[in-house]
Symmetry: C2
Subunit: 83 residues, 2 copies
């Protein structure tokens, strides 16, 4: 498993409720892919979302988003966590 | 206080040790600015860093980086945290 930070550059109509529902949908199915979405941060004004995810691969992380709600990240980067 | 996610697009020569030292330098002086850098994620290969920071303003968050080590973020966005 590796840690990744993804970035959705602009989700149209983003609201706190919508992103919470999308995250819940991720959590519901992520076990099928061996993935764990850990946390996320978002900005309603710009439509940006960052997801921190532990996954066996980039493709597995994308697969969860694709199946759960279709909103695949624009960028995803392997990261180390500082603290 | 507001939560922000910043992004350093490419820090030349980034290493885990270098970013840890920069973060320690932030922590040493951030109280002067009423700022708290909470966590960070980085990728040595691409030189990217994301910092999660609680600050009274965007400028205050930048001021800490500027004074501590000079590496001011390329982007900073007000965010809400999901989990």
């Amino acid at each position: 498993m590796s840690l990744y930070m993804d970035h959705h550059r602009k989700v149209d109509g983003l609201t706190a409720d919508a992103v919470a529902q999308a995250h819940a949908a991720d959590e519901k199915i992520q076990g099928e892919f061996g993935v764990k979405y850990l946390n996320y941060w978002f900005d309603e004004a710009s439509g940006q979302v960052w997801c921190l995810v532990d996954a066996p691969s980039i493709e597995a992380a994308h697969d969860v988003h694709r199946k759960a709600h279709g909103l695949v990240a624009d960028d995803i980067t392997p990261v180390q966590q500082g603290v």
